[in-house]
Symmetry: C2
Subunit: 322 residues, 2 copies
């Protein structure tokens, strides 16, 4: 729906300004300049339509990620729903802290215990069952600070950028450290990105026939961690060619931007810098989510655009007035 609104808001090809929620700063000029030169058949930098692959991180790039990755809150809520079948969780960490609502203590558990809990919340169910659980959560859960649904906390300027690129013949993909099945539930209606164009952290799956119907069962084992150096691996395995445009916001996206921008010919890399504590959040080098350190140090020399959220974006969320 939001994607539709973004498109209707500006029938891109005919519209004077394809990115109305971007202020008239140098960032906007750089983006439009790149898109125009690679799509103009008379330009020496022209790129054929088939090769116009654009990849986007999700958490912190297309939607917010504070106080923690939204999928983590989904995991906590799933654990609460599953708790009646697991009396042992009352005394076992990090489950016990989650059940008490003490997320801070839960998150201080060892990484393996947290990964294990994430696997519990995401596996031993069919793909359809998982989808239903994620759908119900996305349609109802509200963010503690904004009171908005999580799926409403997407960035209007990025929705416009996605629509603009597609109108110019780009194929847009999500390449996220988040769980692919979780993102696929809302990516089409929210971002206009169909399931087959979402790459993410992937669990193994097992094919079974239940009541005569073929189903996939999600297994508690990771097939691909789509983060850091795993992002170019995911791109290579799932998309099969090097993108020409990549957008991220954290050092988890560094290798994806590096892979994208070290190919031959015209390339574009951008990092969204969260520096707007009023309308969103301000964080970078010291943050426990979306840490951005190396990208700030090396990005400018590599020609990457550092998006200044505070000054470059006229609007953050679609439903909040400017």
């Amino acid at each position: 729906m939001k994607y539709l609104i973004a498109v209707l808001f500006c029938a891109v090809a005919l519209c004077a300004d394809p990115l109305p929620s971007w202020n008239k700063t140098d960032s906007k000029k750089q983006i439009i300049g790149f898109v125009e030169k690679v799509t103009d058949p008379k330009s020496p930098d022209f790129v054929p339509r088939d090769e116009r692959i654009a990849v986007f991180d999700n958490d912190g790039t297309l939607w917010s990620e504070r106080p923690v990755y939204f999928q983590l809150i989904f995991i906590f809520d799933q654990i609460k729903k599953m708790a009646p079948d697991h009396p042992e969780w009352q005394t076992q960490e990090p489950y016990a802290s989650v059940l008490k609502g003490d997320y801070k203590s839960a998150l201080s558990a060892k990484e393996e215990a947290l990964v294990e809990m994430a696997l519990v919340a995401h596996s031993n169910m069919t793909g359809a069952e998982f989808k239903q659980a994620a759908r119900a959560w996305l349609d109802s859960a509200e963010h503690p600070k904004t009171g908005m649904l999580y799926k409403e906390m997407v960035f209007q300027p990025m929705l416009e950028l996605l629509a603009y690129l597609r109108a110019k013949g780009f194929k847009t993909f999500i390449v996220s450290g988040g769980g692919v099945d979780f993102i696929r539930v809302f990516a089409e209606e929210t971002y206009g990105i169909p399931p087959e164009q979402v790459v993410g952290t992937t669990l193994k799956a097992k094919y079974e026939v239940r009541d005569g119907k073929g189903v996939l069962v999600k297994e508690p084992e990771i097939a691909l961690i789509d983060d850091k150096a795993g992002k170019p691996v995911g791109i290579y395995q799932f998309i099969g060619r090097r993108p020409i445009f990549a957008a991220g916001n954290s050092d988890g996206d560094f290798e994806m931007l590096e892979y994208t921008t070290t190919g031959e010919g015209p390339r574009f890399g951008m990092l969204v810098h969260h520096n707007d504590s009023q309308r969103e959040w301000a964080y970078d080098r010291e943050s426990h989510v979306g840490q951005l350190n190396r990208g700030l140090d090396e990005g400018p020399d590599r020609g990457w655009l550092i998006v200044d959220m505070k000054n470059d974006w006229a609007k953050i969320y679609p439903s909040v007035a400017d």
Copy 2:
């Protein structure tokens, strides 16, 4: 190119017969009947454009697979090219037999030794290096019986079916037991299927920076065997939704067709039955490649179309006169 020719041959939407190389048999009627009912907005069986996912096996479904899978011949040729750096292969099986050109003895080696040889021919090189090797082979290697390039041994009726489905709003995918990187080299020009719509057997890959450039190195370890029950797994992981149309030719495709046709709503499964020893090959239950047994037994009761190559197809290869 072949894809272009197929499209130009019949500007599908306007053409009276979207499948000119299919004889006027019941098979053709069934295919067109299905496509028309799911694409007619007034039909109770209408399927929205986004959900029109069609999956195709490659070996034996889109191109020939005799005397052995074509990729196996590529592997033999790669091993010969690599042999100067591996003097030990002169006495080590199955390499020694391959180097003598005794493929029959080579293929009688243990399965693990054959898989290991396949991995040797496909890994410890960058994606770009592999692509170059596969491209050179596909552009030059000739089939021992027909003298045609392997990539010319694609089925004209299937090229027309792919183009017809796409003209009707379907998104077409390959889901093959063959190596994904091998198929991606020729799928776009031959079938009109871009790399990101090819799912296949996948090796692990490692991201590295070489001379300042991000590259993927193919590792000698399998990430996904995209065959039998691995096909629905590949579909689930890579495409993320259940197809409504599936085409195969062997029992390696059984689970893919089962998964496709046991979903809700209108579904179509088809198996190409190789029964034309004159124009192609005739084989099914006893064959060492493309064995088709369970599909012939259970397919008809499941409503799957068994394509009678000899009588249903007016033409086999694009470049051979009728």
